[in-house]
């Protein structure tokens, strides 16, 4: 009798503990961030991680999303698509409401079919044009695809730089090849001749030969489309070799991380930026100040992407009325989020049926170690 009583009491206690821990678990919603925290993309992932940490603290301080606190789990892809795929597969086993990342387009390419099959929204940092062209209804960008940004920079090269010939330097990965394949037809459509079309390797450290080749092409301008560390190394080498032609880029070349690494070698770089903490928008500048106060360095576009990702899911979940992945994705498709309704989105943004984002963007130049916005370009629609 006594033994039965003990067993009964023990079971009741275990049950209560389990129930309470389940209840605790139910009050905390985990969102995996499968991003580049080492390898070539470490710089990018670190920015995303820091900014998303800020966003989740803000959201949780105000009660979370639909009354639930959010916990971000960070998983390192090592900038490797194979590892990213394995990490996404493991994360999907836990049936998350959404997945953030990867940021590198190659890793997004390797993972987008998995999230589509699992009907789980995947909020990415990748910019390769083909990501939203593969039919996934569950992929959502935080920055422009190259199919949107490259026409804008091509117009700038034709109208402002007035270059008749151009050298294109791109990175030999999904991001770089996608950019190259997007910009070259746009340049040719505008009567700008591509006189050099050069690929470089991800993680490449020595750009001496590439800069010599680019100089030898004698183009009116040089379009550089590399990721952050490679952009900085290229700019350092270009300055060392006395390159005096305009160096033009799309977001990464003018990014804050590149400016921090290349210092005065970055001066004079110009082009189109989708996101910048120097944008003439109060909410964006305020985010930039808060980020810098906390992390002692300026945020770049990857930081803004990581920050708004949380607010995208928040707005979509609130529209759907539930924390359910398919409902969130359905709500996010075709959604326009305004700062008036959701201040954390910073700039009004809209998503189409393919997950492509539309937003204002900017032309900028690096002067005296700072990115200076020279023009604001309107939304496409």
């Amino acid at each position: 009798m006594k033994l039965k009583a003990w067993v009964g009491a023990g079971s009741a206690l275990a049950g209560a503990l389990l129930a309470s821990s389940y209840a605790v678990a139910q009050d905390v919603i985990k969102i995996p961030n499968i991003i580049e925290l080492s390898g070539g993309g470490a710089t990018v992932g670190a920015m995303w991680k820091n900014a998303s940490s800020m966003a989740v603290e803000e959201i949780n301080a105000k009660g979370g999303i639909l009354g639930k606190k959010i916990q971000l789990d960070y998983i390192d892809t090592g900038s490797d698509p194979g590892k990213a795929r394995a990490a996404i597969q493991r994360a999907l086993d836990d049936k998350p409401i959404a997945i953030f990342g990867p940021i590198y387009s190659g890793s997004v390419n390797a993972t987008l079919k998995l999230t589509a099959e699992a009907e789980t929204p995947q909020v990415i940092g990748g910019e390769a044009a083909n990501l939203t062209q593969q039919g996934s209804k569950y992929l959502f960008r935080t920055s422009f695809g190259q199919n949107v940004s490259m026409p804008k920079i091509a117009n700038y090269i034709r109208d402002d730089v007035k270059a008749k010939t151009i050298a294109v330097v791109y990175q030999n990965n999904d991001f770089g090849k996608g950019g190259r394949n997007a910009i070259v037809p746009e340049l040719e459509k505008r009567g700008i001749k591509v006189v050099a079309d050069m690929s470089t390797e991800p993680g490449q450290a020595d750009f001496a030969a590439d800069v010599v080749k680019v100089k030898g092409a004698n183009a009116d301008a040089i379009f550089v489309y590399l990721t952050e560390e490679e952009s900085a190394r290229f700019l350092i080498e270009a300055k060392k070799q006395g390159v005096d032609k305009p160096l033009l880029g799309e977001t990464t070349l003018l990014g804050q991380k590149v400016i921090d690494l290349a210092k005065d070698s970055a001066n004079g770089a110009r082009g189109h930026v989708g996101l910048s903490v120097d944008a003439p928008i109060a909410a964006v500048q305020d985010f930039g100040k808060r980020f810098e106060a906390r992390y002692k360095h300026k945020a770049d576009h990857n930081g803004i992407k990581g920050y708004i990702a949380l607010y995208m899911i928040k707005a979509a979940a609130e529209k759907a009325g539930k924390l359910e992945p398919k409902a969130i994705a359905d709500a996010l498709r075709g959604l326009t989020i305004t700062p008036a309704k959701e201040p954390g989105i910073l700039i009004e943004a809209s998503w189409d049926e393919t997950g492509e984002i539309d937003r204002v963007s900017f032309l900028a130049e690096v002067k005296d170690g700072k990115q200076v916005i020279t023009q604001t370009l309107p939304k496409l629609k």
């Binding site: 470490a42 030999n172 390797e201 450290a205 001496a208 030969a209 010599v212 560390e229």
Partner: protein
């Protein structure tokens, strides 16, 4: 033509840095039969010591560079020799030591990533960034400075080895440690000195290459492979071979990137390695070695 000449000059500048690392490989092999597969990481790490000196200790760059050299001598010289090499050098064959150096390479690489940062870091340069025009070529004073410093270091080392008593004792140890011991050379001290010289060369190479490559935990992978190729191509048993190999690989790497493709730039030195091993295994300037069994 000007492009070609500029490629040669920048190739020589980078090649001189490869030569510093390759000389270290060669010296360690000659005096202690150590093949150090962590050589690339030995070149990667001193830059992190310098950054730590600047950020954690608040040192100005010049003092941080000296701090980096001192840490390199301590960690990559003394500690490496006493903790890794000495316990394993008496073992059967060189395989245990080779495997250990591979493990050291992984440890140093992941250590830098975990304890400092996975992101690339800017590294200051003491050399001027100005560009000068010479016979229609735009040459960076930075490149000339790298070449001058690397060549001066090599020249100093050559003078030390050939022109000083200690240097000649080191050479004697490399040629035949048994006979050197009989003749009164303190062989153990000469071996230690070799490890310290290797650590010093790695530190200088690191301070020269990090402003170009940025400071990153993964820098050692390519540097180590290139230095190894340079040492084999030049001649693993001759310091002058390592110098020639380093310069040749630096120039070839640049020419391959410019005239073949960036994608295959490493393939050309590796092809050269295969050709040398097949047709001249002692290297371009190396000495044929024979073993009796």
């Amino acid at each position: 033509m000007t492009d070609f000449v500029q490629l040669i000059i920048s190739g020589l500048a980078t090649g001189a840095i490869y030569a510093l690392a390759a000389i270290g490989f060669t010296l360690l092999w000659q005096t202690s039969q150590t093949i150090n597969f962590a050589q690339g990481e030995f070149v990667m790490l001193p830059a992190f010591f310098a950054l730590a000196g600047m950020t954690a200790l608040g040192l100005p760059f010049s003092l941080a560079a000296l701090f980096a050299v001192a840490c390199s001598l301590a960690v990559l010289g003394f500690a490496f020799k006493f903790l890794i090499v000495d316990p394993l050098i008496g073992q059967k064959g060189t395989l245990p030591l080779v495997i250990s150096t591979i493990a050291v390479a992984l440890l140093l690489k992941d250590g830098a990533k975990e304890f400092y940062s996975a992101e690339g870091q800017r590294f200051p340069t003491i050399l001027p960034n100005d560009v000068v025009a010479i016979f229609g070529l735009k040459i960076s004073l930075d490149q000339i400075g790298v070449l001058v410093i690397a060549v001066a270091t090599i020249a100093l080392l050559q003078w030390f080895l050939a022109g000083t008593r200690t240097g000649r004792q080191m050479q004697a140890t490399a040629q035949n440690p048994t006979v050197a011991r009989i003749l009164g050379v303190n062989v153990e001290r000469m071996i230690l000195l070799t490890f310290l010289i290797n650590a010093g060369l790695a530190a200088i190479a690191s301070l020269l290459i990090s402003p170009i490559y940025l400071v990153k935990f993964s820098n050692g992978e390519v540097l180590g492979l290139t230095a190894f190729v340079a040492a084999i191509v030049g001649g693993f048993n001759q310091v002058r071979g390592a110098i020639a190999g380093g310069l040749l690989v630096g120039v070839l790497d640049n020419l391959a990137a410019a005239y073949v493709s960036s994608r295959y730039r490493l393939a050309v030195p590796l092809l050269l390695l295969v050709v040398i091993i097949l047709f001249r295994p002692q290297g371009l300037l190396g000495r044929k070695e024979e073993r009796s069994v």
